[in-house]
Each structure stands twice: as C-alpha cells, then as structure tokens.
C-alpha cells in the first residue's frame, strides 16, 4: 500500500480507476498549460502594441492574423487533442454501483419474482 498499512499488502491493490483518473488528470492539466502558453504569448506578441493601418489589417480567413494564430488555431488543435483524449486516452473504467442503485435493482428483482409468482398463481 502507498501509505503505511497494517493489513496484508497482498490483499489489496491500488484501485485502477484512481490510477487511471490521476494519470488522465495530469495529462489534461498539461494540455491546459500548453494551450495557455500558446494562446496568451502568441496573441500578446502578434496582437498587442503594433501599428495598425486603418482599412489594411492583415487577416487570415477574415480575422486579424493574431486572432487566427493565437486563438482559432490552438482552439482547433485543442479540439483535436480533446477528441483524441476522449476516444483513445481516457480509460473506460467501471465506476461501481451506488447503494441506492443496488437497492433498486434488488427491489425490481423482488417485484419481478413476485410478478412471476403471481402469474403462476403462487402468491
């Protein structure tokens, strides 16, 4: 066990949902950080403090160049990375069953059994 333990270390292992979630969280945090150090500095260097000639602003697809390279481009990349994270990287872990879900499942099983029995004229 990672923290000190009195029980036999063979009985328990670290929960894979916890391990997967933690690994995924670090990667997601890294994606956020990379997006920030792309968007903010690029926007600042290309879009702040430059001389503007009215009516003759350099554009890409109609938007100012700094908006395209500083925001729209990383935004599209972020969408691609998000898609990859969602469908390739994040694990499909079993999140368990809540107590009330167990109770409801048991209740519906009882009802089902009761219904079957009633249908057979047993109750």
């Amino acid at each position: 066990m990672e923290s000190s333990s009195n029980s036999s270390p063979d009985e328990f292992e670290l929960d894979p949902v916890f391990l997967n979630s933690r690994r995924e969280a670090w990667v997601i945090f890294g994606v956020w950080f990379l997006c920030m150090i792309w968007a903010v500095p690029v926007s600042y260097m290309m879009g702040y403090g430059h001389e503007i000639v009215p009516g003759n602003v350099p554009t890409v697809f109609g938007m100012p160049t700094w908006i395209f390279w500083g925001i729209v481009c990383p935004w599209l990349v972020a969408d691609v990375v998000t898609t990859w994270l969602c469908f390739r990287f994040i694990k499909n872990d079993d999140l368990g069953v809540a107590p009330e879900e167990l109770a409801e499942a048991a209740g519906s099983a009882d009802q089902s059994a009761t219904g079957d029995a009633a249908a057979k004229g047993g109750v």
């Binding site: 923290s3 968007a39 700094w66 990375v81 969602c86």
Partner: protein, 724 residues
C-alpha cells in the same frame, strides 16, 4: 419599415416565444415528476438517479456553465471592446476537457462508492467527518444565496430588455405601477418587477415540481436553442456585412465613441416630440460637417419646451461610420425637428452629484457660478450643471454635472458658501484607453471607457485562462453534474460533445458580434441589447421575424438553466446535508419528499423577494461568488480525490485559507480602491489566482503537518481487494 417597427415586431415574436417556452418547460417538469414516483426520491430529485446519458449530461453541463452572461454580457463585451474578446474567452478551448475531465471520473466513482448525493455528502463521507460536511454546507449556502439573488435579477433584467417594446407588456407594467404605487418595497421600476415575477414563478415552479431531471431536460432544450440560434445568426451576419474580412477592415477604422451631456433644440415649442428615446438619433450640423449622436438615456420633454437640457448622448466619432449612418445604410432613425446644439467638451468628464443649497438659489443651465476653484480644486478645474436648477434653502438635489480640468478630490465647495457638492460620480467623455486611435478594436488590449491600460492587459488575460478552465472545475454546480453521469463512456462522449458545442457557440459569437459592430452602430448606449437587436435586424432582413423570437430566447434560456441548478443546490444542501444527515437520519421518504418540495419553494421565493430590491454590482457578485467557490473547493476536492495521504485537517485548513485569501483581496480593495467589488490585484493578477495558490499550498502543507488519515478510509477510496 421603420427601425422601431422592426423592434416591436421582433419583441412580439419574443413574447410568443417566451410563452411557448414556458409551456414547454412546465410540460417537462410534469414528465420529470412522473419519474420521481418510480425511483428513490432523494437520489432522483437531487441527482437524477446517476443515470444521465451523453446528450443530457453534455447539454446540462454546457447550459449550466453558459449563464445568461454568454448571451448578453459576452456579446456586449465583443461589441464594446472588439476582437480582443477572442483572447478573453480563449481558454474555452480547454474548458470542457478541464472542467469535466480533471475530476469527473474520479468524483463520480467516489460519490457512487459512498452513496453521496450532494457535494457536501462527498466531502463528509470521504473523511467521515460531519463537521467538514457542515463547513462545506455553510460555504455553499453562503455563496449560492448571493448568487441566486444576482441570477434572479439577471433573469429579470434580460426579460425586461427582451420585452421592452411589447405593447401588452408596457401597458401591464403601467397597471402594476399603479397597484404598487406608495409601497416603497416594490421599488419604482414596475417593468423589472413584472419580469422578476414571471421569471421567478416559472423557474421556482418547474424546479420544485420536477427536480433534477426537470432541470436537466430543460437544460437540454435550452442548450439546443442556444446553439441553433448562434449557427443561424452566423451566416446571416456574415452575409449582411459582406464577409468577415470587410467587418475586420471596417473595425480597424473605428474609434471609440464619446459620451456626455448635450442640449437639444426642437424646431418649435408646439413640437409633438414628448420623449427622446434610446433608439433616437440626432445631428449637429454646421457649414463644414455633420456630427452624429445617439440618445444614451431616455429624456421626457415637457410640453411647450423648445430647448432640452441635460440629454445624455453618445457621439459617433468614426468618419466612415458617420457616412454610412447619414447615407441610411444602418438601422439609424433620425428624429425630425430636433438637433443637437451643444455637447460636452471632449476633455471633460460627465456624471452626477448631490448639491445642497444654504440659501434659496436659481441657476440657468451651464451657469458659470460654479466655475470657481475652491481650496480643494486647482485653478483650472470647474463644475457646470447642464440644466436649470432651483433650490430652496437647505434643499438637496441630485443633478447632472460636467467637470473640466483635473479632479483631485471628491468634495467641492462653492467659495461663497451657497452650495455644497457631494457624492460626485463622473466618467471621462472620451474613452480612458483607445480614444482617437483607429485600430484599437482589432488589437489588444482593446478600448476601455474606464481603464487607462485598456480592456485586457497581459496579466488579466492570464487570469482569465485560470478563471474559466481551472476555477470552472471548482464550481460545486459543475461538480454535482459530474456525480450524475451514467458511466465512463458517457463522460468521454460528453466531453467531446461539449468541446464541439463550445466551439460552435463561442467562436461564432465573436464573429457575429464583430459584424454587429459594423451593422448596428451606437449600441454602446445600451450594449446588453445588442443580442436581441442584431437578431431582429438580421431575421427581418430575410422576412423571418419568428426566427428572431427564437434567437432572442437564447439568453433567457441560458440564465434560466443557471438559476434552476443553483436553486436545487441550495435546497439539497438544506434537506440532505443539514436535515437528513444531522437532524433526522431516520426521516421517512414521505417526509423528505415534502421537505424537499417545501425547501425548494421557500428558498426560491425568498431569493425572488430579495431580488425585488437587489443589491447593485450584479456582475461583480457573480464574479465574486464564482471565484470564491473555486478558491474554497477546488484544492480540497482535488487532494481528497487524488492524494491518499490527504486528511480532513489539511482540507479544512486549505478550504478556509482559500476563502480567507480570496476574501482579503476584496476587503483590501474596499480600502485601497474604495469599493469591495474592485478587489486588490496582487501583482496585477485576479484574486482567484491568489485564492487558488494559497488554498493548494495550505492544503498540502497542513496535510503533511497533521496525522495520516485512518487506514479504513484510505483503503475504501484508493484500494480494492485483489481478485484471486
């Protein structure tokens, strides 16, 4: 077709849309209520039985996060500050993956394994500490109550803006004004009161009756309305302006408007003009040029008046824009028989003050009487009152003022001792940043009427990257949704869906409202109206007023979906976390059910009643609450989910330290900047960054300095039995 007729037609469509919308919402609540009868009440009412599928989960998450601000405040900001808003909102590129992915899966698992239904439930069970659970309840109720009142006010204001041109609404509001006259509690704004009652009753009713599923399903409907509205508006706006490139080039020629007081001369005293409204345009012409103004605040004209003083005006300063307005290329309707004859000096400031007369006094407009320096003014400073003033001895009155010269103190005394000024509040006629500077709308930091460093400095841009993506992860209203999705696959698909959803909403919104800057000039007078204004303008252009109504409903949908979530959070905190878990653990389901309905009803009604006379600083309260909740909750939740060594002492200290650090920035602001809602910015960063840094640091070190958590808790939440 005149501009006002277009607006009226669009507003009638808005009224019909609002009615249809309300009916749909009640239908959804009725369906949801049927579900309550077949499931565990508590889990179903507050958490939707943890069974949300991809679309429901994705759209309720997206719609709740996009409050009314996305469709009123954000468009208004784009219109006012230009392209730099793309950077302001830029972190939304990672908001879905951060707010849902950082803690979503793990929070859902921990909530399932403990049977938690609310966020305080999770925190309490994770450490088996009732005290920690109660602390979180107190913080949630404290912050959310403020926010609920602010959101009720926001909803009512949005509805008021949307319906302001509807005749039925106006006449009904006048009747309400008569009924409530003399009762100070109801205030003087009957339109606001009517909207608050409509909005409040609708939200409280469907939330109380339908619970979580009603909230989620209405969120889905509202989310669909929002994205469809934006995607329809985009091609219409691009087509109307002649392409995005043309919009950008036109914006690059623009300079910010000036705002101040003017004098309007009517052609004769028998003129039928009884009011100068906010849509009205006026000219000031001489032999060489024509200046163009828009009325910034409605002004009633008394019968027999030829000269109207103290009219608040907005002057358009961009030559190419003036040409287009005069050529009739924009929806700008000039008032016949009226012209501006005087406007504030560009280097002066305008505002209001209270004056008190020691002796009876009568002054003509712009009287030079006050053009004298007092001991607290330099010889170059003077005040003028741009209207007639008559005061009896000892009488006080609020007046419009213009100050020219440098302001050093906020108390001015007439040297003769006849009149005293107090409560002086002024703004510059010219923008503090960007005035007379073409190109300011297509570059950073963007124009600002009040801030001399511009709208979005580098440090503020970094703060917003934290604000949206990181602090969004720490919002309890988001967290509770993360406890409600069905399984991991749902989470993965929902993150992808929300990422696409935000891309389809926020990037097009920037494009649309940059186009709107070119298409509809002069909206700085009332920027919050730009969404309905542009929706009506564009859809009438293609002969589809009904579509305008649908688009106008989007901001209303957005604020509704935020309010219902907050309402349910507060009532769940009271019923589940205080009553069931601390007062009566053995309460029957029937008792819990009645109490839940009652609590949602009472909390909602109380918030609505407080919102009749709401505090000012609406947006400031929303920002304070959002960042405060993140400063309190994010660090403890991250540590308790991901660090087996975390303990209740560390999380409690981190939570309180985050609260205190964040709060202290606001208290310091009250002393340094004279307002609680102008917080002190350490190293020019927003208080949220200070709060998060302190909270994470304190949680970590306090945890290490205190005993390790009990083994059984660590084993329960971080380990599983080895399957042989």
């Amino acid at each position: 077709m005149t501009h006002s007729f277009i607006l009226a037609e669009g507003s009638n469509a808005a009224l019909i849309t609002f009615m249809v919308y309300t009916l749909a919402v009640f239908g959804i609540a009725a369906l949801s209520n049927r579900l309550l009868k077949s499931k565990s009440f508590m889990s179903e009412y507050f958490l939707g039985s943890r069974g949300l599928g991809v679309w429901a989960f994705a759209l309720t998450f997206a719609a709740t996060s996009s409050s009314g601000g996305s469709f009123t405040g954000f468009p208004a900001k784009i219109y006012t500050h230009g392209w730099v808003l793309a950077l302001w909102i830029g972190s939304y590129m990672v908001v879905p993956i951060c707010t849902m992915g950082l803690i979503g899966k793990r929070l859902n698992q921990v909530a399932r394994s403990s049977g938690a239904i609310t966020i305080p439930d999770v925190l309490r069970d994770r450490f088996n500490s009732a005290r920690f659970g109660l602390l979180t309840v107190v913080l949630i109720v404290f912050f959310m109550s403020f926010n609920l009142v602010a959101q009720f006010k926001a909803g009512a204001l949005i509805l008021k803006v949307l319906l302001s041109d509807v005749e039925v609404f106006k006449s009904f509001s006048l009747s309400v004004a008569e009924w409530t006259s003399g009762v100070g509690f109801f205030g003087s704004d009957s339109q606001y009161l009517v909207c608050l009652l409509f909005f409040g009753v609708a939200v409280i009713a469907y939330t109380t009756y339908g619970g979580f599923h009603a909230v989620v399903w209405t969120d889905v409907m509202q989310g669909v309305v929002m994205v469809v509205g934006v995607l329809i508006l985009l091609p219409l706006a691009l087509n109307a302006v002649g392409g995005l490139d043309r919009a950008t080039q036109e914006m690059s020629k623009m300079t910010p408007p000036m705002r101040g007081y003017g004098v309007v001369q009517l052609d004769d005293s028998t003129s039928e003009i009884s009011q100068l409204g906010k849509e009205d345009w006026l000219k000031m012409s001489d032999e060489d040029s024509t200046r163009v103004f828009r009325v910034a605040a409605s002004k009633t004209i008394e019968a027999g008046t030829e000269t109207v003083y103290g009219v608040e005006l907005l002057e358009i300063t961009t030559p190419s824009e003036i040409e287009r307005i005069l050529a009739g290329e924009t929806p700008s309707e000039f008032v016949d028989g009226a012209k501006v004859t005087r406007f504030s000096d560009p280097d002066s400031r305008y505002g209001t003050a209270t004056i008190t007369a020691k002796a009876a006094i009568t002054m003509p407009p712009y009287a030079p009487l006050f053009a004298r320096p007092s001991t607290k003014m330099t010889p170059t400073e003077y005040i003028q009152i741009p209207d007639n003033v008559t005061l009896a001895a000892g009488e006080s009155k609020s007046v419009l003022i213009e100050i020219s010269g440098r302001l050093e103190d906020q108390v001015f005394n007439d040297p003769d001792g006849d009149v005293k000024f107090s409560d002086i509040s002024t703004k510059s006629v010219k923008y503090a940043h960007g005035a007379d500077t073409p190109g300011v709308y297509v570059s950073g930091p963007g124009p600002s009427a009040t801030d001399s460093v511009g709208f979005l400095s580098l440090s503020v841009a970094i703060s917003f990257f934290f604000m949206w993506a990181i602090s969004g992860s720490g919002q309890p209203s988001n967290m509770v949704r993360l406890m409600a999705f069905k399984d991991s696959m749902t989470l993965r698909r929902a993150i992808f869906t929300v990422a696409l959803y935000y891309t389809c909403i926020y990037v097009p919104l920037v494009f649309i409202f940059c186009c709107a800057r070119v298409l509809v000039p002069g909206m700085e007078a009332e920027p919050d109206r730009i969404m309905p204004e542009i929706a009506v303008y564009l859809t009438n252009g293609i002969g589809a007023a009904w579509l305008g109504g649908l688009l106008i409903a989007a901001p209303f949908a957005a604020v509704m979906s935020t309010v219902d979530s907050f309402l349910l959070m507060i009532s769940s905190a009271m019923v589940r976390d205080i009553y069931q878990r601390n007062i009566n653990p053995n309460a029957s389901e029937g008792t819990i059910k009645k109490l839940s309905y009652l609590c949602t009803l009472v909390v909602g009604s109380a918030a609505m009643i407080v919102a009749i006379n709401p505090p000012n600083f609406l947006q400031d309260i929303i920002v304070y609450v959002g960042s405060g909740l993140a400063a309190c909750f994010l660090a403890p939740v991250v540590f308790l989910l991901y660090w087996p060594r975390s303990n209740v002492q560390g999380c409690t200290i981190g939570m309180l330290a985050g609260f205190t650090a964040h709060f202290s920035m606001y208290v310091t602001g009250a002393f340094v900047n004279d307002s609680f809602f102008r917080p002190y910015r350490l190293l020019d960063f927003d208080p949220i960054i200070v709060g998060l840094v302190v909270s994470f640091t304190m949680t970590y070190f306090a945890t290490l300095a205190t005993p390790a958590p009990p083994q059984e808790l660590v084993r329960k939440y971080f380990y599983r039995r080895v399957e042989s």
